[in-house]
């Protein structure tokens, strides 16, 4: 069935004409049940209907069946502001707000030369302020993600070649507007920016705008722009709807360097100056940048360990070092087996891996054995390595948290912890040796993205697996009967960051444990006991008699199954049903703060 979908998409790729997109979009219905549904609303200040078939095709390419609502002509603002409007009633997952510069800041397009620098600032303030308040209003009515299109450069400016030098220039004004939009929109929970300006630059302005269509029908975009915009929207929808990839498992020969190490020797591989060595060298720099922004790296290569060690030790042009890799398997085993071992070692789901290898047979073996891995074949042409890898869109994110930026390092620290665990005689000895210290705080702006991310993604140690949107989370944190706490853990190997979240509800002398979850990297370190001890104290302070909570079993949360029983809770629901409810009387609780963790009381708490 999905082969048939691929064939359909290939006919579009062979000749990506408007007719091909239209024809393909009509045939997508038969694949709907194999794809993840997504409800997309398009709100705009211009005629955006022509985008719809392109969007549906590009969504299908990314595993999404898009149902698309197109707002009425030029009603974007009304739709956002009206809680009883059609857009809210449609119940979208994602709303794209596409407005034109001429509609949002008419003066910037019609009478630019009459403005001075302060005028431009004022116009930008007002335009961004209006957008922020419209989206803020929409936030109260809907939890859909809102994606605001930024603004493309004009195709030609009145100042012509002087524009790049002018004190007040159109290009500079648009750049300022876009930067301001990025800052203010991304501060709203669940709101993001689509970089139309960047997409248009990639396509080329000559192919982006169609003045004829603009004057005939108020639709400004040429066919290549529709195609590119649909790709951007579909890629963003995928990030919002499908799980993110976290780990890049790389091959070595003809992937990180040219040639076969076992045959050519350390001095004979292509890496460094001159083609193709310079292309592999450049690709290593790109991979290092991915590592720096939080992609976990692993190596899976059929080679002799000794030879590879020698390359890392002696080759002057190796950009990547052993410490950049969280796990390596240099051996002659089957690569899917190696990948499964690495997944286990790093406590990562197999579906969070991208496998990048030049060998056709290895790629097809991986696709066959582990279809949930995203397998991307490295191109023969070394100059295209990064283009192909990044073109797979595997590591796209809509926000990068400080946790992401530290993730690569965290996995190295994790490996050091594992080594320490293996060296310790007993688990108690190991836990004591970690020198853990924890801080627990109420949800604050600093922690918000990471907490939202944990609530959205945590599967293993999660009592209830309740998913809340950023909007829900905001509402819960500001509700006096509810509380959201997070736990941050450090140990002698480094900072683990935010690894625990609890959502509590207080009513009628009961504290209800709505959500309690732990990041999988700290399971088994008594952190859940620390969090529970804190919750019990919090419940006592508020005069509650009991703490109650549900356990809702899923395919993945067995790690949390004995949490209640282990901490002296009594089961109060009938046995037999899948979900269970548990109660603990706070007065006679046996739960104590674990001795392995030092409580670090934050100055601000």
């Amino acid at each position: 069935m999905l082969t048939a979908l691929n064939e359909l998409l290939q006919t579009v790729d062979a000749r990506p004409t408007p007719a091909a997109y239209l024809a393909a979009s009509r045939q997508l219905e038969r694949f709907t049940d194999r794809l993840q549904p997504v409800r997309v609303a398009l709100l705009s200040s211009f005629t955006i209907e022509p985008l719809k078939p392109y969007l549906q095709v590009e969504c299908a390419r990314r595993g999404l069946a898009a149902d698309v609502y197109v707002g009425k002509f030029n009603t974007a603002r009304q739709e956002l502001l009206d809680p009883a409007g059609e857009c809210v009633a449609y119940g979208p997952d994602v709303v794209f707000v596409a407005e034109l510069l001429g509609d949002v800041c008419p003066q910037l397009t019609t009478d630019f030369l009459a403005l001075n620098d302060d005028d431009v600032d004022q116009i930008i303030d007002e335009a961004v302020g209006n957008a922020v308040s419209a989206i803020g209003a929409f936030r109260h009515a809907s939890s859909a993600a809102v994606v605001v299109h930024n603004f493309a450069m004009p195709r030609r400016t009145v100042l012509g070649r002087y524009d790049g030098m002018a004190r007040v220039s159109e290009a500079d004004a648009i750049n300022r507007l876009n930067r301001r939009l990025a800052r203010d929109i991304s501060a709203i929970p669940g709101a993001y920016v689509l970089d139309v300006c960047g997409a248009a630059a990639q396509v080329g302005y000559r192919h982006w705008y169609d003045d004829r269509l603009w004057f005939l029908a108020r639709t400004p975009l040429a066919a290549p722009a529709l195609e590119a915009l649909a790709r951007e929207q579909a890629a963003i929808s995928r990030v919002l709807r499908l799980p993110a990839r976290k780990c890049l498992a790389l091959d070595l020969d003809n992937t990180l360097w040219g040639g076969v190490l076992g045959e050519a020797g350390v001095a004979g591989i292509a890496l460094g100056s001159g083609y193709p060595g310079n292309a592999y060298h450049h690709f290593q720099h790109c991979v290092l940048q991915l590592h720096r922004r939080g992609v976990v790296l692993a190596l899976i290569s059929k080679n002799n360990q000794h030879d590879v060690d020698e390359v890392f030790r002696a080759h002057p042009d190796m950009v990547l070092k052993p410490e950049h890799f969280a796990a390596t398997r240099i051996n002659w085993q089957l690569k899917p087996d190696n990948l499964l071992e690495i997944a286990d070692e790093l406590s990562l789901g197999v579906d969070s891996f991208v496998f990048f290898d030049d060998d056709t047979a290895e790629c097809s073996l991986m696709r066959h054995a582990l279809p949930e891995v995203m397998t991307v074949q490295a191109p023969q042409d070394a100059s295209r390595l990064f283009e192909v890898l990044i073109g797979a869109e595997a590591f796209d994110r809509l926000s990068i948290t400080s946790e992401d930026l530290r993730r690569g390092q965290m996995y190295q620290e994790q490996t050091a912890r594992k080594r320490a665990a293996n060296a310790s005689g007993s688990i108690e000895e190991f836990l004591r040796s970690l020198d853990m210290s924890a801080a627990i705080r109420s949800l604050d702006a600093f922690a918000f993205p990471r907490v939202a991310n944990l609530i959205e993604k945590t599967n293993q140690f999660n009592l209830t697996t309740r998913r809340y949107s950023a909007t829900d989370l905001h509402a819960m944190a500001s509700d006096p009967t509810q509380a959201v706490f997070y736990l941050q853990l450090a140990d002698r190997f480094g900072d683990n960051g935010i690894v625990g979240v609890a959502v509590l509800r207080h009513h009628d002398r009961i504290v209800d444990l709505d959500t309690l979850l732990l990041s999988c990297r700290v399971i088994g370190r008594t952190v859940e006991t620390a969090l529970l001890a804190f919750i019990i104290e919090w419940a006592q302070e508020r005069g509650a008699d009991v703490v109650e909570g549900d356990f809702i079993p899923t395919a993945k949360n067995a790690a949390a199954a004995d949490f209640y029983a282990r901490h002296g809770f009594q089961r109060i629901s009938e046995t037999g049903s899948a979900a269970s409810r548990w109660r603990l009387a706070v007065a006679e609780t046996p739960v104590q703060w674990p001795s392995y963790i030092q409580l670090h009381v934050p100055a601000t708490a």
Binding site: T17, P18, A19, A20, P50, L216
Partner: protein, 84 residues
């Protein structure tokens, strides 16, 4: 149909048929927005873009506006040097 056809006409009709989601056999020079329901203002633009892309030509805004029938689309294509 009086011009010598090198396959251009069938390409045109099949392109328009795809946009309008109808069988190419129902299309003729006389077919216009008034005679076929699917030919609305949105599909008018789609037809113009699809035909441009199929034949590698670029119509003027006036030509797009004047494409009131398939015969007139052929005329616009001839003005662009297409033998149709």
């Amino acid at each position: 149909v009086t011009t010598v056809d090198d396959g251009s006409l069938s390409r045109l009709l099949s392109t328009i048929a795809t946009v309008l989601d109808v069988d190419a056999s129902v299309l003729s020079d006389e077919v216009s927005p008034g005679s076929i329901e699917a030919w609305d203002s949105l599909n008018h633009l789609n037809i113009a873009m699809a035909v441009e892309s199929e034949f590698g030509v670029s119509f003027s805004a006036q030509q797009v506006m004047d494409m009131g029938s398939i015969g007139l689309i052929r005329e616009a294509l001839r003005e662009q040097g297409v033998n149709i």
